[in-house]
């Protein structure tokens, strides 16, 4: 190739050494030896002055061509060796990608609180504010203001824990209605979540403490048709797009008319299954139009405003949603139970 034997010699040996280099560091040694500051080719180029003037341009040109070629070859070899070395490094570190990952610590919201928040968020979307009230309540707020007369059998509907003659553990979230309406004038649109207490036998379907969510809407033009529409919408959000509600007449002292509300069974779509006890419907809440006496008790005029209210058991909804067969599980707090509710829930903002 090169006419000059010295250049040719440098080239030949360099190519052989590059080919023979087994590591990037060995290759670097070759590069330094040939192209480094005091490398063979560098020295030759520097010593061109000693070359006879007639040969000088040719030798100089040849040396520069060789330098260029060697740099290319070095770079290619460098890339190849680097890739190989990386491959070997990885190969030396054995992996078992089926090992479980290091999952960051994660706890679970209690299923009751989770469902409660989900219900709240549905009503928030409809423009309802959240109101809260005390769990130890006066007889007045829990009963009298809600149109439960003294010594009336309606009081037997709610077996009551007493703290004193006129103080009780609230048996429902309805007293929050009274507090909220007393605190502000109409219009009122609130949901009231919280613990309630009934002196009940404890078994798979009864608990002395459970959670309710109260809903209340009072305004100039609120009708039972609005109640139905709102609960239909709630049922669709909570139980799926096919869901809707059915009203059955009932009795609550603080609503008139009153209705028990069933949702179309979301397991079978109304055909009948073990969840709905073959009826196609599942009872989920009590509701009605706010009784005129209740409106009068908080200083509202029943000729001016009307309203509806409902009270829903959160455990009931959670039991249906998660297919839980014993209400006591909620209050045992077995970590294996709680852990089942650790997955991210769509409902939380």
């Amino acid at each position: 190739m090169a006419a000059d034997p010295r250049v040719q010699d440098i080239l030949d040996r360099a190519l052989a050494d590059i080919a023979g280099a087994r590591s990037t560091s060995a290759l670097e040694q070759v590069r330094v030896r040939v192209l480094g500051r005091s490398g063979e080719l560098t020295a030759l180029l520097r010593g061109l002055g000693k070359v006879p003037a007639a040969d000088r341009p040719r030798v100089g040109q040849e040396a520069n061509e060789v330098k260029g070629r060697l740099e290319e070859v070095l770079a290619a070899r460098q890339e190849a060796l680097k890739t190989e070395e990386h491959r070997q490094t990885l190969a030396a570190r054995h992996l078992d990608l089926t090992l479980p990952g290091r999952v960051p610590a994660h706890g679970a919201m209690h299923p009751i609180i989770r469902v409660q928040d989900e219900i709240i968020s549905i009503f928030e979307g409809l423009g309802f504010s959240v109101a809260e009230g005390p769990e130890v309540e006066s007889d007045y707020y829990n009963f009298a203001a809600l149109n439960f007369p003294d010594d009336h059998p309606a009081r037997d509907m709610q077996d009551t824990f007493h703290v004193s003659a006129d103080t009780v553990l609230r048996t429902h979230t309805s007293p929050v209605q009274i507090r909220a309406m007393k605190a502000q004038g109409p219009p009122v649109r609130i949901v009231c979540p919280g613990k309630v207490f009934r002196h009940d036998i404890t078994d798979a379907t009864h608990s002395p403490m459970f959670h309710q969510i109260e809903g209340l809407a009072v305004d100039r033009h609120i009708t039972m048709a609005d109640l139905k529409g709102t609960l239909d919408l709630f049922a669709r959000e909570m139980f799926g797009p096919r869901s809707h509600v059915r009203f059955r007449p009932s009795f609550f002292p603080f609503t008139e008319p009153s209705a028990e509300v069933d949702v179309l069974c979301f397991k079978c779509g109304g055909d009948g299954c073990r969840f709905c006890k073959q009826s196609g419907w599942i009872e989920i809440l009590g509701s009605g139009m706010v009784h005129p006496n209740v409106l009068r008790n908080v200083g509202y005029d029943p000729e001016e405003v009307t309203g509806w209210a409902f009270g829903m058991g959160v455990e009931r909804v959670a039991i249906l949603k998660y297919e839980i067969d014993d209400i006591r599980l909620f209050f045992e707090n077995d970590m294996r139970f709680l852990g089942q509710f650790a997955s991210a829930s769509r409902e939380l903002p």
Binding site: G107, D151, A225, N333
Partner: protein
């Protein structure tokens, strides 16, 4: 309440099947729990007579005295083994010949019983599935038609509807009341029972007297006298009808009162006339010290104010609740004084509750009887008694009703129905529905004028009528709408809910799970935990158990119970928190809230820090884990950082170990504490391993000013890091040293991070090695080595001087 379909159809002329009637009732607000045939699986049983006892077969090992009976049908006779004590020649009874079946699918075949061939079986009430009595075979009257199917004779081809009536509808607690509903719902004609009394010569008012001393509690009291009666068993149709609705037949007189109660809803009481002193009834409140022996044989102390039925000498009954034993109808009774009255519902309920005596009568009176209908019930029962007991009804009824009240009149506007419901049924439907339910309606004006019948005490205002109309018209006809218009209002969240959600999110993200525990706890455990003043606690008057009788003054017992429960289930690693109310007696600031309630967070942790895994450490949770959880919660509250203050001896919750607990505060305001659970408490809760607890008052955090997040410019010049490693006496706290450094107020010291704590080994007993990384930084320039060296040396000198620290590295 059980309602017989046959009985119902005596008053509502309908051909609709029982299931359809049940559906209509449910859709009108009367729950029907079940619809079931009266007797299931009974076939082939006929009426037969025991012609002769052919042979005594002796007593079986089970104690039955078996006899071989010859049982006759009109055309044939059978030899049947029978162990019933009442099997006697001439008795007509229920006979299941071979081929008959009894309830439960029991097929009767000819078989050998203890070596004797028996061609069928004589049956008891119990075996027939028509009653409770299994002591002997069914006894039928001598005129019961031989060979006739028993089922037809007794009316057993019936269906029973088990209905549930809400407390506002006492009028529906009777066959007639349900029939009226059914008629209104189906359009069937409603027939009120035809009542005509055949009266005798003697004037009732001349032989008996009634005086009401307390008309506020007994506004009406009516009575009749029936003479010349014979007490005997009720005829089969009556006995069977009572059995079919779950009542036990007793004798003809008592059975009549129960029958009329069931049919018309009016409780009645029969006194043995001859045992009532001066044949005079006095209705009055109890006086102090009075007692009565009731029908059930209990001697009961009466509270002043309870309404009594008395004669001039003594109490003879607790009004509306239970009669007295001294005037009870017995086998010897020939004359009955029959009571039909109205008693004040609240008074009856209060008496019944005070005595713990819940009877069918009290159940109806406390819901409200029909003050006008009681006369019809009285007449019906008196005539039935006379018919069935061979007696005579004395002329006239004694009826004390000093202040009859007019029936209420209510105006019903169709516009109101529309206003409340969103829709209004056609005018004719509104009128028809109300009339069918027993209301008198005048529809000549713009609004309806409605007169409420005396049996509908629940109807007092216009909206009550709105409900009546709509529930019969059909809730399914109410459209589904959404309230439109109105003024948009912002959605408001209570700060407590916002904070609880933020803390919940932070802690669950950090690997803790949320618990919800009962709000009532065990006072014995609270005592061990240091609550020894009962007046600081709220105790339930009627707890479900002593262990759940006090409202939680702290969430600590609840979360410790969670740890304990998991421990018993072989789950030793628990990282749990709860957010809930704590309860203390009312304070001034609580206003009209009866108790002092605060929102708290409790964290309990025990066991391994991380779930066991191939990559996890096996470190055990320690006190710094709960401290960190509490700090995270405070951080999530956005009110600044938590500060730790060690408790002096005797300070802090008694359920935490002395010296292993500290107070938490924010900006100098106490907000909670953390520590290790004391050994005695662990033993009480059965917690073998150390448990760490933190509690924070979220209410206190809510009172603190929120610190808004503000962006800090990122440093533009490089930082310089220097370490400070010292050995100090073990009592010197890291907090003290950090406070000392901070108190030097060095603006260029931007960060102080404790990165190593070491005890033991070369450090020496009673000493501790601590190491910090200090970051120096200026916002406006690169610091020089000289500057940093000088600052660091000042810190080293200060720490060395103040704490006698040995400097191990700088």
């Amino acid at each position: 309440m059980k309602i017989s379909y046959r009985w119902l159809r005596e008053f509502a002329e309908t051909e609709l099947p029982p299931e359809t009637i049940a559906d209509r009732l449910v859709n009108a607000g009367i729950e029907v729990a079940s619809v079931q045939p009266l007797v299931e699986g009974l076939s082939g049983v006929v009426i037969a007579e025991i012609e002769a006892i052919e042979q005594d077969l002796g007593v079986t090992p089970a104690g039955h005295h078996n006899r071989l009976c010859r049982v006759a049908l009109p055309d044939k006779s059978f030899s049947v083994v029978c162990g019933a004590p009442n099997a006697a020649r001439g008795l007509r009874t229920a006979f299941a010949p071979p081929g008959a079946t009894l309830p439960g699918g029991r097929a009767i075949k000819a078989a050998k019983i203890r070596g004797t061939q028996s061609e069928g079986m004589l049956c008891s009430e119990q075996e027939l599935g028509i009653g409770e009595d299994g002591s002997g075979i069914l006894e039928l009257p001598a005129d019961a038609p031989l060979g006739a199917p028993l089922s037809r004779y007794l009316g057993l081809d019936d269906t029973i509807l088990e209905i549930e009536i809400t407390p506002n509808r006492p009028d529906a607690l009777s066959v007639v009341g349900v029939a009226r509903e059914v008629a209104a719902l189906t359009g069937a004609p409603f027939r009120f029972p035809q009542i005509a009394v055949k009266e005798g010569e003697i004037d009732a008012a001349r032989i008996a007297e009634v005086e009401i001393l307390d008309p506020d509690l007994s506004p009406r009291y009516a009575a009749r006298v029936i003479t010349g009666l014979t007490v005997k068993p009720s005829p089969p149709w009556l006995a069977q009808r009572l059995r079919s609705v779950g009542l036990r037949p007793i004798n003809n007189l008592v059975d009549v009162t129960n029958y009329v109660l069931w049919e018309m809803g009016q409780p009645l009481h029969a006194f043995d006339y001859d045992t009532v002193a001066q044949h005079k009834i006095v209705v009055r409140r109890a006086q102090p010290g009075e007692r009565i022996m009731t029908l059930d044989g209990q001697d009961r102390a009466l509270t002043p104010g309870m309404l009594l039925i008395c004669d001039p000498e003594r109490p003879i009954g607790i009004a509306g609740v239970m009669g007295g034993a001294s005037t009870e109808v017995t086998a010897k009774t020939t004359t009955v004084l029959l009571e039909s009255a109205f008693f004040n519902p609240g008074s009856i309920r209060s008496t019944s509750r005070t005595l713990g005596l819940h009877t069918d009568a009290a159940y109806r009176f406390e819901r409200g009887a029909d003050i006008e209908g009681l006369r019809e019930a009285l007449d019906r029962a008196a005539q039935l008694m006379a018919d069935l007991g061979g007696g005579t009804v004395a002329k006239g009824a004694i009826d004390v009703y000093p202040g009859p009240k007019p029936r209420p009149r209510i105006t019903l506007r169709r516009s109101r129905i529309e206003r409340v419901i969103g829709v209004c049924p056609p005018h004719e439907d509104v009128v028809r529905i109300l009339q069918a339910l027993g209301f008198a309606v005048d529809d000549s004006g713009l609004a309806l004028q409605v007169v409420v019948p005396s049996f509908r005490r629940d109807i007092v205002q216009e909206d009550d009528l709105v409900e009546e109309v709509i529930r019969v018209w059909g809730y399914d006809k109410i459209p589904s709408a959404l309230a439109g218009g109105g003024v948009l209002q912002p959605v408001i969240h209570p700060p407590a809910l916002v904070l609880a959600r933020a803390v919940t999110r932070a802690l669950t993200s950090a690997g803790l799970s949320q618990a919800v525990t009962y709000a009532f706890v065990d006072p014995a455990r609270l005592k061990v935990m240091g609550w020894d003043a009962p007046e600081a606690l709220i105790t339930l008057q009627n707890p479900i158990s002593a262990e759940r009788s006090v409202l939680q003054p702290s969430l600590a017992p609840g979360v410790l119970e969670v740890v304990a429960l998991n421990g018993t289930r072989q789950i030793p690693d628990v990282r749990v928190f709860e957010i809930g109310q704590t309860f203390a007696p009312h304070r001034e600031e609580d206003g009209d809230r009866p108790a002092h309630e605060e929102l708290w967070l409790a964290v309990a942790m025990t066991g391994q820090r991380a779930p066991r895994a191939w990559h996890a450490t096996r470190d055990r949770i320690d006190i710094y884990d709960v401290k960190g959880a509490a700090e995270l919660a405070v951080y999530a509250a956005g009110v600044g950082d938590a500060e730790t203050t060690l408790y002096a001896a005797g300070e802090g919750p008694r359920y935490l170990e002395q010296g292993r607990a500290a107070a938490l505060s924010v900006g100098g305001r106490p907000v909670g504490w953390f520590g290790e659970v004391a050994l005695g408490v662990r033993e009480t809760f059965d917690l073998p391993a150390p448990v760490f607890l933190a509690e924070l008052s979220l209410s206190a955090l809510l009172d603190l000013p929120r610190r808004e997040t503000r962006y800090q410019p990122l440093p533009r010049f490089p930082a310089v890091q220097r370490d400070l490693a010292i050995v100090v006496a073990a009592e010197v706290t890291a907090g003290q040293i950090e406070a000392a450094i901070r108190s030097m107020k060095l603006p260029l010291l931007s960060r102080l991070t404790l990165f190593d704590v070491y005890e033991g080994g070369q450090v020496g007993a009673g000493k501790r090695s601590l190491a910090w990384s200090l970051t120096y930084q200026a916002p406006d320039r690169t610091l020089t080595d000289r500057e940093v060296n000088e600052l660091h040396a000042r810190i080293v000198a200060e720490i060395s001087r103040r704490f006698g620290a040995e400097i191990r590295g700088v």
